[in-house]
């Protein structure tokens, strides 16, 4: 082994605490970087690749066939500025099929498929072939529909080949057989058939609609797409376009789940990276500071300055490399469940951490560690041999004398005042300790805030302010049971309402009906919750506008507003059972149900359109002090014969994304706090080693072990309090930045109740937690100082 190797080996072996601290902080930084990087790649690449390969449509627009003809649409497409390619016009229709599976298949299931055999409304587009200049369809199974009784469904739909779709609402009840499955990069339809088949699916009451697909020369931003859309409407006529969908909205929709993690992991990655820099810099600088004598000896023996610098850099790189390897393993393992979710979102398979993400994260962190160590070790190289040997350690005399004199007058036991002034004697080390505590407190504050915000998201999404919920009992499914049975259609809802109203403890109640509609300009069905009664107290958090006050009004969640390209104050058209119902958007509500694609309205909206909806369940608020259990018992006795059951109101459930985020936050925070504690421990340990002789003198003069511990703990009091205060502030700010970013990633705007989670009491508690980090880091060295024998301490140079 070379001389340098010998010195590095002994340095790494003897400075175990510093070695562990560097390894852990590097692990943390690499793990978070790999997670964040992988998710960034996973959340962008699959969509963008498919969009480029299949010439996805920047804008898919729906036109009213009564306002513009197919010929006019064809003629106008070439005259629009900025349009680089078009496809269409394709006839399109929104219809509800009855599904019959091939004999070999199990029945379709799932919570939103409705009664067995029926599905939600689907958008069927008539295309002669899957190819085209825009939205080239990728046939994933079977073949293209060429006959009038054939249909191709979207690849993410559950129907297998051979399934028949019967459209009972259409004259003649045509039946089409699924002969293929195809994927549209921009999700322009739920199914495709021949143009003649689609025209045959159009009901006499409804006018034929056309779909046009556009690619624009510039479509990178929402403004670009909006400009293109405006150019199209001005060419065709604004009244003709009944809806449109931007490719950006589709991408956002598809990347929503994984995008949730990115800003969150970015924040933790940043903290981890900063912490690595801080810890490595601190450890090396401390090693130089307390190792002056050692450096002097090495130089006296003939070590060159560059050898000394290299020695200290390698001393940092050895644990950093170990930490990097651990971080790569941890990052890849943790990425598995998250990438699984991504795979589901894209219906892709085999998503793994890209090799270059591993390489870039590892190399990046190691370069940062090396650069930090180099900067810190530079001093070792420049340290004059004669000074190092003569003084024995770096000079400290003269620092903190004023503070020391001041502290001596404090009315506290002398060991405490001796400890309190210690940071003034070694200000650089005190600053490093403040930074360690601050990072730990930042991690704790951010995690608690994130967890609280996610709880608020759950609460806001659950809409469970009601004390009691009354809902239909599940009916047994057997050979004799009717398909789609249960009390829903046949129950005496008037009787249920009467029972609720008769209860003296009932303060307020509303019922909810659930159905599905299509929104003009959007593909696929969206859920509707239609209320009878005032539901404003039901736990719906408004972001802007107001709650619905009557028929013809809706409130929409942010993702649905974005997807439909509308805003509060706009009027949109809901298509329900062949009837177009214009409604005005009066508010933006916070809701993530069905990906934030639920329409909230008054049941009268449908009743007025001649399509009344049936209530499904009832939400009841009780008068103050009412016994929920007794109320449930009383109501159950009366509604049970009607096929209903009463339950406590809360039905909060943690989503898999929330659970994953909380688990990740807890794990990353634990790692950060551990590193923070070790950082403090490292600083205190070095400090005690530096002044072990001074401690020996104190002991010789009669300082008891307990007083020694008090002295050491007091020495971290000031950095602990300052660091905790800074950390809580940083965590607060980080939360204020990251939470809206998480919301943006998910296409959501967050209500104040979600973003404003820190009360004064909580902030104080978090500050105390930061101080506990300092205490936890200083207790082990304090114990060591207390146990050191006086004679040993006095003998130490």
């Amino acid at each position: 082994m070379s001389a340098l190797g010998t010195v590095v080996r002994s340095g790494v072996g003897q400075r175990r605490v510093q070695t562990v601290v560097i390894a852990l902080s590097t692990t943390m930084a690499v793990t978070a970087t790999i997670l964040g990087g992988s998710l960034l790649v996973a959340s962008d690449d699959p969509f963008d690749d498919a969009f480029t390969r299949y010439h996805g449509a920047h804008l898919s627009a729906q036109f009213d066939g009564s306002a513009v003809s197919a010929a006019e649409l064809s003629a106008s497409s070439g005259a629009v500025d900025g349009v680089s390619a078009t496809a269409g016009p394709f006839p399109m229709v929104s219809v509800v099929p009855t599904v019959e599976l091939p004999a070999s298949e199990e029945p379709l299931g799932g919570p939103n498929t409705g009664p067995p055999g029926t599905t939600s409304p689907i958008t069927v587009v008539g295309r002669g072939d899957p190819d085209g200049e825009v939205d080239d369809l990728a046939l994933t199974e079977g073949e293209w529909a060429t006959e009038p009784d054939e249909i191709v469904v979207a690849a993410d739909r559950p129907e297998p080949l051979g399934t028949t779709l019967t459209f009972a609402d259409v004259p003649g009840s045509p039946t089409l057989t699924v002969v293929g499955k195809a994927r549209s990069a921009t999700r322009t339809a739920d199914a495709w058939a021949t143009p003649s088949a689609v025209e045959a699916l159009t009901t006499p009451e409804a006018d034929l609609a056309y779909q046009m697909l556009y690619r624009f020369a510039d479509a990178d931003t929402a403004a670009d797409v909006a400009a293109g859309r405006d150019a199209v409407t001005s060419a065709v006529g604004a009244e003709a376009m009944t809806g449109s969908q931007s490719w950006l909205a589709v991408r956002e929709d598809l990347t929503r789940e994984t995008a949730l993690f990115v800003p969150f992991l970015g924040a933790f990655g940043l903290i981890g990276l900063l912490m690595s820099v801080l810890i490595v810099g601190n450890v090396i600088a401390s090693a130089v500071g307390s190792g002056a004598r050692r450096i002097g000896i090495l130089k006296a023996l003939g070590f060159t300055p560059s050898q000394v610098v290299r020695g200290y850099v390698v001393q940092a790189l050895v644990p950093a490399v170990v930490g990097t390897v651990l971080g790569v393993v941890a990052g890849n393992l943790l990425a598995v469940p998250i990438l699984d979710q991504t795979e589901t979102a894209y219906a892709a398979s085999g998503l793994t951490v890209a090799w270059w993400v591993n390489v870039a994260a590892s190399a990046g962190i190691l370069v940062v560690v090396a650069a930090t160590a180099l900067a810190a070790a530079w001093r070792a190289g420049r340290l004059r041999t004669v000074d190092a040997l003569a003084v024995g350690r770096t000079p400290t005399a003269g620092r903190g004398l004023g503070a020391s004199r001041l502290a001596a007058r404090l009315p506290v036991p002398r060991p405490l005042s001796l400890g309190l002034v210690r940071p003034f004697a070694r200000p650089a080390r005190a600053v490093a300790m403040v930074a360690s505590v601050a990072f730990g407190a930042t991690a704790i504050t951010f995690t608690v805030g994130l967890s609280s915000s996610l709880s608020e998201v759950l609460a806001a999404t659950a809409n469970d302010s009601a004390d009691v919920r009354i809902q239909p009992m599940m009916m047994p499914q057997g050979p004799g049971a009717e398909s789609g049975g249960g009390p829903r259609e046949t129950a005496d809802h008037g009787a249920v309402a009467a029972v609720i109203e008769d209860q003296p403890e009932t303060a307020a109640y509303y019922s909810t009906a659930r159905t599905e509609v299509t929104v003009s300009g959007m593909t696929g069905a969206v859920a509707v919750e239609a209320f009878t009664g005032d539901a404003s107290w039901g736990g719906y958090e408004m972001i802007s506008g107001r709650w619905i006050e009557g028929a013809g009004e809706v409130v929409l969640p942010t993702p649905l507003l974005a997807a439909s390209g509308s805003a509060v104050g706009d009027t949109i058209t809901l298509n329900h059972e062949g009837v177009a119902i214009p409604v005005r958007i009066v508010g933006e509500v916070f809701d993530t149900t069905d990906g934030g694609k639920t329409v909230f309205t008054d049941a009268a909206t449908f009743a007025d359109a001649g399509r009344p909806v049936t209530p499904f369940d009832y939400h009841v608020a009780l008068t103050g002090g009412a016994d929920v259990g007794a109320y449930i018992d009383a109501v159950t006795a009366e509604v049970e014969p009607l096929g209903f059951a009463a339950l406590p109101g809360s039905e909060e459930q943690e989503s898999s994304v929330t659970a994953t985020l909380n688990a990740l936050a807890a794990m990353l925070s634990l790692l950060l706090v551990t590193v923070a504690v070790l950082g403090v421990l490292n600083g205190v340990l070095l400090d005690i080693r530096d002044r072990v002789r001074e401690l020996g003198i104190h002991k010789a003069l009669g300082m008891a072990p307990r007083q020694t511990i008090a002295l050491v703990l007091a020495s971290v009091a000031l950095p602990g309090v300052v660091g905790a205060a800074i950390g809580v502030l940083l965590g607060y700010v980080l939360h204020a930045v990251v939470m809206p970013a998480i919301g943006d990633s998910a296409g959501l705007r967050l209500p104040q109740v979600v973003t404003d989670v820190y009360g004064p009491g909580l902030l104080v508690l978090l500050g105390v937690a930061g101080v506990l980090v300092a205490i936890a880091g200083s207790l082990p060295p304090a114990g060591w100082a207390a146990r050191t024998r006086t004679a040993t301490a006095l003998r130490t140079e």
């Binding site: 082994m1 070379s2 001389a3 010998t6 010195v7 002994s10 340095g11 072996g13 003897q14 004598r293 050692r294 002097g296 000896i297 090495l298 130089k299 006296a300 023996l301 003939g302 070590f303 060159t304 300055p305 560059s306 050898q307 004059r384 041999t385 004669v386 040997l389 003569a390 140079e797």
Partner: protein, 234 residues
């Protein structure tokens, strides 16, 4: 004519605003000499030693050792000069506590690029000669003061340096250990090793050196050649 091992010409060194630590000091040491630099505390002994070792530079004047102008060397060249020309013994031993005795002794040879096996063999010989081979695998913290200084001597001799510098080599030792080290230095000089010892111990100076230079207030007050070491111990 014998080429001098050390030539110091009109060397001066002053720290901050205080009096000069060295003031116009000139001296020559020839190979094979054992020179004691005597003087009270603050007389400039250690400063002179630091100039010769290349650990410090004079404000004026020159220092030449074994034909090398030490006062003009860069830090890196200075390090190479030390590893090739000097062996140093310190008052407080300056052993690396986290290396074993053998590892401490071998370190200068490793720096000089000596093959590992040869370095180990040489270290073993030195430790045996100095009577501390039984402590080869021990850490310095477990040795007595005298034993630690013997390890330091072994380390200083590892690269067979033409010049051995010792700074108060008995200052931290009890009487018996001190005499032990004195005998060791005398024996080395008897073998032709050039030695410069900085001390304020007159007995040490007379016991193992052939010449005594006394410094007072940074100047040479006397320079006396005795010819041979007064009392070889072994």
């Amino acid at each position: 004519m014998t080429v001098p091992m050390i030539t110091v010409r009109a060397a001066a060194r002053q720290y901050d605003e205080g009096p000069p630590a060295l003031d116009d000091v000139s001296l020559t040491v020839v190979p094979g000499e054992a020179v004691a630099i005597l003087g009270p505390s603050g007389s400039g002994k250690s400063t002179l030693l630091n100039l010769i070792a290349g650990l410090d530079r004079p404000d004026s004047g020159t220092v030449t050792v074994n034909g090398v102008r030490v006062d003009t060397l860069s830090e890196t060249a200075s390090a190479r000069y030390r590893r090739g020309t000097l062996g140093m013994i310190f008052q407080f031993f300056n052993l690396l506590d986290d290396l074993t005795v053998t590892e401490n002794v071998v370190l200068p040879a490793q720096l000089a690029g000596m093959p590992r096996r040869e370095a180990r063999r040489r270290a073993g010989e030195l430790l045996e000669t100095l009577g501390i081979d039984r402590h080869a695998g021990a850490y310095p913290g477990r040795l007595s003061g005298g034993e630690r200084q013997r390890v330091a001597v072994a380390r200083a001799l590892m690269n067979r340096p033409p010049l051995l510098l010792a700074d108060e080599p008995t200052g931290a030792l009890d009487t018996a250990s001190g005499e032990d080290v004195i005998g060791l230095l005398a024996a080395l000089n008897a073998d032709g090793q050039t030695i410069v010892v900085v001390t304020h111990d007159v007995r040490l100076a007379r016991s193992c050196t052939t010449r005594t230079i006394e410094l007072v207030d940074g100047r040479v007050a006397s320079d006396v050649t005795t010819g041979v070491a007064a009392e070889p111990i072994r």
